[in-house]
């Protein structure tokens, strides 16, 4: 029944009215606009992700080689059980890498 109907439609030589064609074009246009904006937004997302990932690996590499800004800081180690001198204050060198544009910030320290 459906096959027959589709066959009839395909072999039918009657055209559609202008209004129907315009509505069809409108529907297709809206669909294409939505799809293209989806693709563009997603492509931007992936592009930004790629840039951020590159920035993180660059930051990580800089942290390993200590190719970053360095400052003298203090580290506190507090014990739950020790009652006398429970806080150990240890001077450390802090290595900080910042990429403000992509909001990547990594910090490590050594004695």
């Amino acid at each position: 029944m459906i096959k027959k109907s589709i066959k009839e439609k395909l072999s039918n030589r009657n055209g559609e009215s202008l209004a129907e064609v315009m509505v069809a074009i409108l529907v297709i246009a809206v669909g294409l606009v939505l799809l293209s904006s989806l693709v563009i937004a997603s492509s931007r997302l992936v592009d930004k992700g790629g840039k951020k990932m590159h920035a993180i690996y660059t930051a990580s590499s800089a942290m390993e080689t200590h190719d970053t800004s360095m400052s003298n800081e203090q580290l506190d180690i507090v014990s739950d059980k020790v009652t006398k001198n429970a806080t150990a204050i240890i001077p450390v060198k802090a290595y900080k890498y910042t990429n403000n544009g992509l909001s990547v910030k990594l910090i490590s320290y050594t004695e």
């Binding site: 109907s5 997302l45 992936v46 020790v82 429970a86 910090i107 320290y109 004695e111």
Partner: protein, 199 residues
């Protein structure tokens, strides 16, 4: 008018098929974008967690590796005295743990909270927590993790070695009043510390 009143379903079928195709394509594109974005934003947090935890582990390792302790008690007194104490910022932690084992405890557990004094650095690095455990042979294990979600975890293992065969050694001695008393001594060194990853 004939078209409007027509009850043939072919048009709506094609429209539904087209809609389905668009929906599937849209969902795939969005899913790919979202997962890539989510993975990247979590990566920076994981990297920071790794540096926070391993930095703390390295500092603890250098503060404990090579430290010695030489302690004793006299007679039945539980007051632990020292021939030599650890030369480390973690001296109080090492002494308290060792005294507990020296006094007869089988294990000792403590929690160390490790953080930078500078608040701006601390807000990025987070707080690292170390679960310290000392066994009856004075071996130390400290398991470190940060307060970040899915934190990196590692363990600092610091073996202890008894020195001069003095593990609870009993030495008979005579005090100033001429009374015979016993001194119990233990001397040890923590060396060969290692950092292990915890899954």
């Amino acid at each position: 008018m004939v078209k409007i009143r027509s009850k043939n379903g072919a048009t709506i079928l094609i429209a539904l098929l087209f809609f389905l195709l668009c929906a599937v394509a849209g969902t795939l594109v969005l899913a790919a974008g979202t997962s890539a974005s989510g993975r990247v934003s979590g990566l920076a947090t994981q990297e920071q967690s790794y540096y926070s935890v391993t930095s703390a582990a390295r500092v603890i390792m250098s503060e404990t590796d090579g430290q010695t302790i030489d302690m004793y008690t006299v007679g039945s007194s539980q007051d632990v005295k020292y021939f030599s104490e650890p030369d480390s910022e973690l001296k109080s932690v090492l002494e308290t743990a060792s005294e507990a084992i020296f006094s007869g405890d089988q294990t000792y557990a403590d929690t160390l909270t490790i953080k930078m004094e500078d608040d701006s650095i601390n807000s990025t690095m987070g707080t690292v927590t170390g679960k310290l455990a000392m066994d009856s042979r004075y071996n130390i294990e400290i398991t470190l993790s940060s307060d970040a979600k899915n934190s990196y975890k590692c363990r600092v293992v610091i073996p202890a070695a008894i020195q001069d065969n003095r593990d609870g050694a009993q030495i008979k001695m005579v005090d100033e009043d001429g009374n015979e008393t016993t001194r119990t001594e233990t001397k040890l060194i923590w060396s060969g510390a290692e950092i292990e990853k915890v899954n």
